[in-house]
């Protein structure tokens, strides 16, 4: 098992993919957090224009760093998908299974490496988010709230990013064709999931069932809950959000594993 993990680690770190995606993630962070921190309202008058929590308070600053988390987890998910699919795209799947014929070990090794790199992405992204926000707010003359108030969401964002790498990996195991998997991932993350949340929240209650509760179990809302970010709808507590993300990774991972374990490598 250790050998399989080492192989996947060497594989994942000997192409440009891991640092290229990390660079894109950090660029997204700088843009998202920078803009958000610059535009977030600092007084009640500005809040009428931008209906967001005041950036002078804890909620406001959490909303700002949460924008960085979103960019980070998308790229971590892309990394996970690429770790799962690039073997099929480049033909390295045959030597992989020749060296490690137990395919379960290969899948677990990929999960370990994707999770590990996800943690690294999380640390880099959350640290960058904090730094960018601090710089912009300092320029605006807004004081940073105490580190105690930001610490938990920032650290949970690191964990959340790692779980998103696993979700991306599961996507890749399930779909296998790299381009299709990536398109599906981006479509779900950017369009289908937020849209579903928007519709469910908008409809509200149907036949005694509160659809807003269902919406809180979607990927986007669960992620926002993890970092206690800002959204217009009801969210799970942070631990609930993390469990929901883990559950998504688990369910998708089992489905992906079932499709990949017996498939012929031709």
């Amino acid at each position: 098992m250790a050998a399989a993990v080492r192989a996947e680690r060497v594989k994942a770190t000997t192409t440009w993919v891991w640092w290229g995606l990390l660079a894109i993630a950090l660029a997204l962070v700088a843009m998202n957090v920078g803009l958000f921190a610059a535009l977030a309202p600092a007084d009640a008058g500005a809040a009428e224009l931008f209906p967001l929590p005041l950036v002078t308070g804890v909620d406001g600053q959490l909303a700002v760093v949460g924008g960085g988390f979103q960019g980070g987890y998308l790229l971590a998910a892309v990394l996970g998908t690429l770790i799962a699919t690039s073997d099929h795209r480049s033909g390295t799947i045959a030597p992989t299974y020749l060296a490690v014929p137990r395919r379960g070990r290969v899948a677990v090794a990929k999960a370990v490496v994707a999770g590990g790199l996800g943690l690294l992405y999380g640390v880099a992204v959350q640290a960058a988010s904090l730094v960018v926000m601090a710089v912009v707010l300092t320029v605006r003359g807004v004081d940073l709230v105490g580190v105690d108030d930001l610490a938990r969401p920032l650290l949970l964002g690191v964990l959340g990013t790692a779980v998103w790498a696993l979700i991306g990996l599961a996507f890749g195991l399930l779909v296998r064709q790299q381009v299709v998997a990536l398109v599906a991932l981006v479509l779900v993350v950017f369009l289908l999931d937020p849209l579903a949340g928007f519709v469910l929240t908008g409809v509200g209650e149907v036949g005694g069932v509160d659809l807003e509760v269902i919406a809180s179990y979607l990927l986007t809302n669960a992620s926002t809950a993890v970092v206690e970010g800002f959204t217009g709808s009801e969210l799970l507590p942070w631990w609930g959000g993390l469990l929901v993300l883990l559950a998504w990774a688990g369910v998708l991972g089992v489905l992906g594993w079932r499709t990949t374990s017996r498939r012929d490598v031709t």
Binding site: G91, A94, T96, A99
Partner: protein, 324 residues
């Protein structure tokens, strides 16, 4: 299990040593892809100390069969083992059997050495081994360049280097001569010979008989997904024939018949002469004498140099025609 090199050949390693090969055994392998019967009831054994050719035209099922042997494709029925163990249950696969499949199996964005590094890691092998196999396959200078910039021949060498990483006793090479220039093919022949002489089991597939003809000791011919022939090359070729032709073909055929010789049109257009059902050798002198005694003028008379290729093509055609 016999693991000595064939008699008379020098063996670079003691028989039964660490690199003595194991036997590959395929029994009744059958695989369908949808409605396509790719491989049907294929059985054969590959013995240590020899180079075994796995021959057949494109689409004969060679690659599918090899992938079943290597545990990459799950057979619908039948089994395959290396030293009695199915591939998926091998404890140290890379140290037991090395495979180079058609297509390199390397990511173009990685250097050749990095490719070997991850495979070595997966097999629990030391990094130093990567440089050894690079040198062994003539890639020492190319190891730190990206595989995407390799020529076809270099990619084949990298695939071979990958197969050799674990210093396995068994080698399975799918079309290793594809993309090699004549010098590369000559190098490959010598390389395979050395590996077999060390007592290893070598199975090498090809769709071109002439590529492996000088190298193989034993052949398995596959056609239309079935085994068409198993045995040595002389057995595949049959007794050598003589090619003969005359402007008066009818008179020639009659003259040959009178001398107790049979003849049939050859793929090249001339008549291929053989000695009826006895299978004994026919000489050009004999054929010339038979024609002369009947007063038939000849336009062509030569030993059949192409007989092996012809026999191969005939064997394949017969199998594809569904005849026994």
């Amino acid at each position: 299990m016999q693991s000595t090199a064939p008699g008379g050949r020098h063996s670079a390693r003691p028989a039964g040593g660490p690199n003595a090969g194991s036997r590959i055994l395929a029994e009744g392998l059958t695989k369908r892809f949808g409605s396509v019967r790719a491989v049907t009831d294929v059985s054969f054994a590959v013995e240590p100390g020899q180079v075994t050719g796995f021959l057949g035209p494109n689409g004969a099922g060679k690659t599918t069969t090899l992938r079943m042997v290597l545990g990459l494709v799950r057979p619908d029925s039948g089994t395959s083992t290396v030293d009695g163990v199915p591939y998926r249950d091998l404890r140290a696969p890379l140290g037991t059997i090395g495979a180079a499949l058609d297509g390199t199996g390397a990511n173009g964005g990685r250097t050749g050495r990095d490719h070997l590094r991850w495979v070595a890691a997966a097999g629990g092998l030391p990094v130093a081994r990567c440089d050894e196999v690079l040198a062994l396959t003539g890639l020492a200078d190319a190891g730190r360049r990206k595989v995407g910039g390799y020529s076809m021949g270099m990619k084949q060498r990298l695939a071979l280097a990958t197969a050799l990483l674990g210093d396995p006793g068994v080698l399975v090479l799918d079309e290793p001569a594809n993309g090699l220039d004549p010098a590369g093919i000559a190098w490959l022949r010598g390389f395979l010979r050395t590996l077999a002489d060390e007592g290893r089991t070598v199975l090498v597939s090809s769709h071109v008989l002439s590529e492996v003809e000088q190298t193989v000791d034993h052949v398995v011919v596959l056609a239309a997904g079935r085994v068409a022939y198993v045995g040595d090359l002389p057995g595949l070729a049959g007794p050598p024939g003589v090619l003969v032709d005359s402007p008066d073909r009818a008179a020639l055929t009659t003259a040959l018949g009178a001398a107790g010789l049979g003849a049939q049109p050859d793929t090249g257009g001339a008549l291929l002469v053989h000695r009826g059902p006895t299978g004994l050798e026919v000489t050009a002198a004999e054929v010339g004498a038979a024609a002369a005694s009947a007063g038939v003028a000849l336009s062509h008379l030569a030993p059949n140099a192409q007989r092996l290729e012809d026999a191969f093509l005939r064997t394949v055609a017969r199998a594809e025609g569904g005849q026994p």
